[in-house]
Amino acid sequence: MTAETVVGVAGKADAEYRTCQYTGLKVDIAAQTLIKANAVAAVVFLMLGGIMGLLVALTRWPAVHLLPAEWFYLALTGHGANVLLFWIIFFEIAVLYFASAILLNCRLAAPKFAWVGFVLMVAGALLANVTVLQGESSVMFTSYPPMQAKPNFYLSLILFAVGALIGCAVFFATLVIAKEEGTYQGSIPLVTFGALTAAIIAVFTIASGAIILIPTWLWSLGWISDIDPLMYKVVWWAMGHSSQQINVSAHVSIWYLIAALLLGAKPLSEKVSRTAFFMYILFLQLASAHHLLAEPGMTASWKIVNTSYMMYLAVLGSMVHGLTVPGAIEAAQRRNGYTKGAFEWLRKAPWGNPAFAGMFLSLVMFGFIGGISGVVLGTEQLNVLMHNTIYVPGHFHGTVVAGTTLAFMAVTYLVLPLIFQREVIWPKLAKLQPYLFGIGAAGISLFMMGAGTLGVPRRHWDMTFSDAPVSFAHSAGAFLMMGLNGIFAVVAALGGAIFVLVVVGTVLFGKKVTSGHKLTFPLHAGGGAAAGHYGSHPTVKLPGTIILVTIFFTCFVLYYFINWKYLSELWLFR
């Protein structure tokens, strides 16, 4: 079905709207309901995956060592699927509908079709959980052959992916409708542009997933005799890593969104921010090669071209956002009157608003923890220091938990009043939430990275090797790191539990927001006024942001060279 026929089916007259009391924007009821459904599904799977994650962390805490081995590997497989796929992608579909229908003042294309996608995604996610819990499918998120899961494991992921693809199609069709019906003037807003980037990468990602998961499914059914393990990895990671780039595009869009809604922030320059997003589309897919740096048979030139994202042009994109997002916030805050010194704008930012606190922590931690470690991990030779050690989960908890998940949690505090039209219950608890979760996420990322540097393997039940015929002992430092990881996992889990509690409580019991009602976490006073005049920001003096990026850059360079120093001390190999 093409976008055109979908438009025809949905029809112009069908759409119902309400008017948003804060922004005055038209809100398509069908889009609103779909956003709610996807957001609720996301939170349900976050809860499920979060519990599994806590069990995993408690098992890896040497002093606790909670689960037996079989359950540990099962929970770890379920944890990956539930949080990395289901939580994040359900939420992203909600973001796509918000960035198209709501921000463009437009009706959502083919809501019925969108519901089909939603049902497929729910069916896939449930089937995956049932299959994993039945045992015999503890193959981890990556499911590398020749290890084999039950056929339903692969089938569930295929179903989920088809559903997500439908969500992307609805998003694209909505953009077409908005353009045709002239619901906005000129170009789409930056946030929608970022969401478009995410959706385009998602199509590439899902196509790669289909190319590898469909044959693997047939293999598990016995219809195909053999899947080459190296070929599988090349194609699987075209899905596995690219899907993380969907997250990056989505959460960077959310940074801009929150900064705009709370502080009235404008991009410093539309051109720069959009080009940075565009670089993701052009170069991020090459990153799949990061996962094959320790494999046999890959040439150095293939590794260097791919892992450098063709000379780090996608990293450049992220580094640009790393300046333009805090820069836009600083500019907006200075215009709002916080002009003293280099940092009054940051000190007097709305830290008590969980949307802002979560967003800013996400920005800082994604850059410092996830970003820097990602580049180091993805450097051709340095990879051998950390490949498959627990450094790897350390890195991606920095990107996907401290970065993406925290940003999604932050924006939820805006979605609750704006879309669910409910007032956040327990606002004091909600204020604490991003800090608890953020500190926990930072802790687990850093301590896993530390343990990985000391050689602790990932996906491993027993770091004491007590049952191994040939004994081996990790250093005391490694045990300490894993213990600290366990403690911070508990902190993160507490933050996650509060999030789920506040969201579910608000959706079910929150006070209905009515006209003239003051929000518990008000949008910044300047926010509404700034909405009137938009475009690139004219302020040029951003001393605070310059200091922040200088600190970032210094850390990046130092950490990069420290790892080369480590590498140079290894045994020699060529």
Partner: protein, 192 residues
């Protein structure tokens, strides 16, 4: 604002802020540097992973490793042969559910062509505490020229999940002083 269309319809002609421009140039140059440094390490560095690999049936590889072990076994540890190949020769190591086989004894400062492959699932060769980590695939024989630089007992653990016994999969490499040097040390000790 980021949530509304750009005010200037022709936004791509707006000038770029100076601070942005400087940062873009710095970030781009840093990217170029990192790109160049990976290439440079192939010339100045001693740690570069070889691409040399061959397709091989797991059963054929097993035969090769067994023959190698038979030839050079010097003793046994816990029922596993300890194999001491001559310096500079080909060394064969296999990963299987759930062990690294056999135990190797190498000399410090000598180079060995280490062949690694798996007989069943994927495994992760992880030399500890040195922390060299290499992926091992069934059907692919990876050849790495390795030169130990320290003396002692080193563990090989598995860091690619390979089923329920994954955490029991270990192996060992002993690294001794080179023969000549050890003999010289002995003579010195006798002389005293």
């Amino acid at each position: 604002m980021a949530v509304t269309p750009p005010a200037q319809k022709i936004w791509w002609n707006e000038p770029i802020e100076r601070v942005e421009l400087i940062w873009i140039v710095i970030a781009f140059l840093w990217g170029l540097f990192m790109f160049g440094f990976m290439i440079a390490w192939h010339f100045i560095g001693q740690q570069n992973l070889n691409k040399e690999a061959y397709r091989i049936a797991p059963s054929n590889y097993e035969a090769k490793v067994e023959e190698f072990a038979k030839k050079h076994t010097v003793r046994e540890e816990q029922g596993i042969p300890v194999v001491k190949p001559p310096a500079g020769t080909d060394v064969y190591l296999l990963g299987r559910l759930w062990q690294w086989w056999p135990i190797l004894e190498l000399e410090r400062g000598q180079s060995y062509r280490i062949h690694i492959s798996s007989l069943d699932w994927q495994h992760g060769f992880s030399l500890q505490p040195t922390n060299i980590n290499i992926q091992v695939h069934p059907g692919y024989e990876h050849v790495i020229t390795l030169t130990p630089t320290e003396v002692g007992e080193f563990g090989i653990i598995c860091n690619e999940f390979c089923g329920i016994g994954h955490h029991m999969m270990t192996g060992k490499i002993h690294v001794t002083e080179p023969q000549k040097r050890a003999e010289a040390a002995e003579r010195l000790a006798e002389g005293r």
